[in-house]
Structures are given as C-alpha cells and as structure tokens.
C-alpha cells in the first residue's frame, strides 16, 4: 500500500469529516498538492451535496428571521469597523505617542523652567530676607567718568552676609573690570567681580574667612590682567562700618 493509497482510501472520510484532527491536517496538506484527490473530493462533495438535508428542519423561533437579518447587516457594519479600527487605533497610538513625547518634552522643559524659577525665587527670597533682616545699611555714591551711580550694602549680622546693590555703573572700560572688595583688619579681600551689564547689579556675599574682621568695603576698577589679589586700580567707592 503506497502513501497515496491512504489518501485514496480516506477521501470519503475527509468529506464526511470523520478523520481525527491530525489526519485531517495531513489530508488537507495532501489535497493542496494532489489534483487527483482534490478532483475526487470535489466529486464526492457534489454527490453528497444534499446529504445534510437528512437532518430535520427546525422551526425558527418567533422573530429569529428578523434578528438573523439584523445580525448579518449589523455584523457587516461591525466588520467594516473591525477593518477600520486597527488603522484608526494605529493612527491614534501614533498620534498619542507623538503627543505623549511632545507632552513629555514640554513637561520636562516646563519642569526645568519651574525649577529654575523656584531656584531664583528662593535666591530672591533669601536676598530679600537679608535685606529685610539687615542690621545696617551702608550707602555711597559712585562717580565713574561723569556718570553717577551708587552702592548699597545691607549687612545681616545674623547670617553674616551682605546684600550688595550697585547701580548706575557704565560699562567698564576696555581691558578693565569692576571689583568689589572687603576691607578687613589685615588686608583687602576680593569679594566679587561686578557685572556692569546688570543694572542694578545685585549680589550676596558671605563674610570672607580670611583677613580678620571686616571693617568696610570698596569698589575699584581693575585691569583684567591684574590678578585679583589686592586692589591696584582706581577706587570708585569706599564704605566703612
């Protein structure tokens, strides 16, 4: 008995669907490759086309015809929806992902901005707290190349910090820079380089850890080439406690 004989023998069983599941799959695979068996199976199906009508008909329950018709037509609509839905869902997901990404980037940007603002607010609050808690306020006028400005120092002895406000400064001459100094018992200690771009310039400085007791402050114009070790340039303002 050849392998093909088995298929010849079971053609009828295939049509009747009495084959076991594994046999059924084997037969289906064979049918796809064997025109002879496919032709004979089609012939058997034609011969037995009406055999299912050996089952007695069943009366339809009231309303079933209508429900079936509605079901068929509704299913057709749902089928269209099923076809369209994956594309719509994919588009939605894509848009959603893009939106999420954009939203996330925007959120991150806003978070960074908010963080920066918080930081600035905290700094400002701190600065204001120094200004409000200042025990002393030192003030002096500045005359720089015929332009008048001023310097204000708010001394907060509780936190040992100064708020320094300098206003009215023209841009520093080329190759020069404004420097703020602490006048201490032992020496002049560099405090900060003052940016004339910010008007007024506002900065907070802690008391220097060296040089002994702070006696006052000075603002000078220094050459950029000079290391900020001690003032050598012109003194614009000097304030003593």
């Amino acid at each position: 008995m050849s392998a093909h004989d088995w298929f010849v023998e079971h053609r009828m069983d295939y049509v009747a669907r009495t084959l076991e599941e594994s046999e059924l799959r084997t037969f289906q695979d064979h049918l796809a490759r064997c025109p002879e068996c496919a032709g004979e199976v089609a012939s058997i199906e034609r011969d037995l086309a009406w055999l299912p009508m050996g089952a007695a008909p069943v009366a339809l329950r009231p309303g079933l015809s209508r429900r079936l018709a509605e079901g068929v037509l509704e299913t057709r609509g749902r089928r269209w929806m099923r076809r369209a839905m994956p594309a719509a869902m994919a588009a939605s997901l894509l848009l959603g992902a893009a939106g999420w990404l954009a939203g996330r980037l925007e959120t991150e940007r806003l978070a960074r901005e908010l963080q920066e603002r918080d930081r600035r607010l905290a700094a400002l609050t701190d600065t204001v707290s120094i200004t409000r808690g200042a025990d002393r306020v030192l003030q002096a006028s500045i005359d720089m190349d015929g332009r008048e400005g001023g310097i204000l120092i708010f001394d907060d002895s509780a936190t040992h910090r100064w708020n320094v406000v300098i206003h009215g400064l023209p841009p520093a001459p080329a190759g020069q820079v404004y420097r703020f100094w602490f006048i201490c018992e032992e020496k002049m200690v560099p405090g900060a380089e003052v940016s004339a771009g910010a008007n007024p310039a506002l900065f907070t400085l802690p008391m220097p850890p060296e040089g002994g007791k702070v006696m006052g402050a000075a603002l000078t114009v220094e050459s950029l080439a000079t290391p900020p070790m001690e003032p050598r340039g012109r003194t614009l303002a000097e304030l003593m406690l």
Binding site: V58, L64, V72
Partner: protein, 211 residues
Amino acid sequence: MTPTRRRAGHEARSSPRGSIWAAGGEDLRARLVARDERALAELIDVASPWLLGIAQGMLQDPVEAEEVVLEVMTIAWNRIELVGAEGSALMPWLLRVTRNRTIDRLRARRRRGSALAAASADPGIVRHVEDESRIDEAGAPGWHVHRSVHAALDSLPEDQRTAVRLAYFEGLTHSEIAERLAIPLGTVKTRLRLGFGRLRVSLAPIKDWVL
C-alpha cells in the same frame, strides 16, 4: 415546494416564493449580489430551518445553533460574489459550511470538555430540543429533498445507517464512533465506506438539483 432540476427535459416545479428552491435560485443569488436586503430576508426564511436543523442536531443547543446560522448567513452575505459562482449551487454551499462550522464548534467544545458536551449526551435534553422545535411535516421548502435523502438513508443496512448518522449528523470521528458503538475502529471505517458509497449512488439523481 420542491426542488427543480437544471437539466433540460426535466419539468421545473414552481415555488410560490420563487426562491432558492426553484430555478429562480439564480435570480435570488443575483439579487444578493446586488445587496438586496429583501433577498437576504428570503434566503434566511427559506434556508435557516435546514441550517438550524443541522447545527441544532449536532450541538443540542438552540442558542449556539442560531449563532452558527448567523455566522454562515453573514459569510454568505459578505462573500456572495464567490458563493454559488461557477455553477455550484447556493444551498449546498450553505449546508456544507453550516455542517463544517458546527463540527468545528462541536470539537472545540469537546476539547474544552465543557458541561455542554455532557449535556449533549443527555437524551432528555435531546428530546426536549427536538420535541419543541422540529418541523415534522412537509411545511418547509425543500421537504422533498429531505424525503429523498431519508429514503437513501433508510435504504442502508442498519449498521451502516447508524454509523453514517453518528458520523454525518452527530459529527463524531472514527474513534468516537468506535467508542460509542463499542466496535473496532476498522469496522467503523468499513461501515462508513460502504454506507457513504451507497449514498453516493442513491443521491446521484438529485445532486444537480438547484436550490
């Protein structure tokens, strides 16, 4: 209401509905292809009792049987351009697809070992379903075909008829029939081969009826 033959020389019997049971079956198919919803309603009215009979006979569950019929009608409606084309008739296609779909469900159910499978073995339930809904008189279109098929089945020896009924109308496999009848597998195969062989011969005269 009876089927008609395609072949020339045979008198075409008319149908009051002019539906798939008559030579106008091609007309119904054409209307279905044209998406005529009234044609769909006609198809459902005429074919559903038979399709339901196949599905309910195997599944013994009216609700699930109706689901099968809905599936088949939906396929037919959506693929009507392909169904019944090239000379193949619409009703045999519906019958074959219904039977295949029902067997698929039946075997899936058996694999799951659901309670329904157990219920289907309860003859009480079988009787209940059959008693309430079976059409027992020639009131349905196609009854003539039913009678012809029954005559062919009745002409089989009893052992072959029993095997054919279990295989074809209850959807059992060879091994399940062997177990049910407590006979060797080879005997089942022999009985089925003989039985279906005889049926091919006895049903040959009606195979070209157009429904």
